[in-house]
Subunit: 132 residues, 2 copies
């Protein structure tokens, strides 16, 4: 199934490299998603920013911090942070974090959601296969 | 901090309504993200598709299934599924799921990542604030 992949249990996120890009596995066209584990004391290899991509960091587990230009934001389970285009940023997992930092990064660009507007089509009459 | 929000611990994802849209809270421009809980036996209120938006479902916990037109895909922790534009879909949490289905949905459209290309700028020399 070309639109389906597995990122595994939380304690295996990112595999041996700690980073797993899944967009090609699911045939994604507009959004890129990486699945990541940063061990306690670990940090980004370098600062980076993007000219056009917006990046959204979603923390599922662990404690850390992310720096956006000059602003340091604490990270814990449930924290979501946007790095706007042009914002230099980097993150780390605190050395005394009880678990590794498990996080998703979503990348996208180009068409503002506000310009997409309401594009949904609903079918309120079609039965679901599990009820048929 | 306008680019930061909290989605809370897994067992509270989505709040009372089971669905929490976070894109405005973080000032996201290109990607929409919802944080969702579907209780065992619960299902989508109706089928839907999008004309232009690609939707990516990321399952963090629970067991369920999603239907993409006529294809039913099982869902468990770590399953990621893309619903392409135009694909009618709906999901449910299995009645005997050991936990509620906790899932993220990422929406985006407009500029293919492949067309964005490499737009990253790296700074390998700047120290991190936590090391300064």
């Amino acid at each position: 199934m070309t639109n389906v992949t597995q990122i595994g249990a939380l304690d295996a996120w990112g595999g041996d490299k700690g980073k797993h890009f899944i967009e090609k596995e699911i045939g994604a066209q507009f959004a890129g998603i990486s699945v990541n584990t940063t061990e306690p004391g670990g940090e980004s290899p370098y600062w980076h920013s993007h000219a056009r991509l917006e990046e959204i960091y979603i923390v599922i587990d662990g404690r850390g911090e992310i720096v956006l230009d000059d602003e340091v934001v604490p990270l814990e389970a449930g924290t979501v942070v946007r790095a706007a285009p042009g914002v230099m940023h980097a993150l780390r997992c605190l050395p005394d974090s009880p678990t590794a930092l498990r996080w998703l990064c979503v990348r996208s660009a180009g068409m503002a959601l506000a310009d997409v507007g309401r594009d949904a089509e609903l079918d309120k009459d079609r039965p679901y296969p599990w009820n048929a």
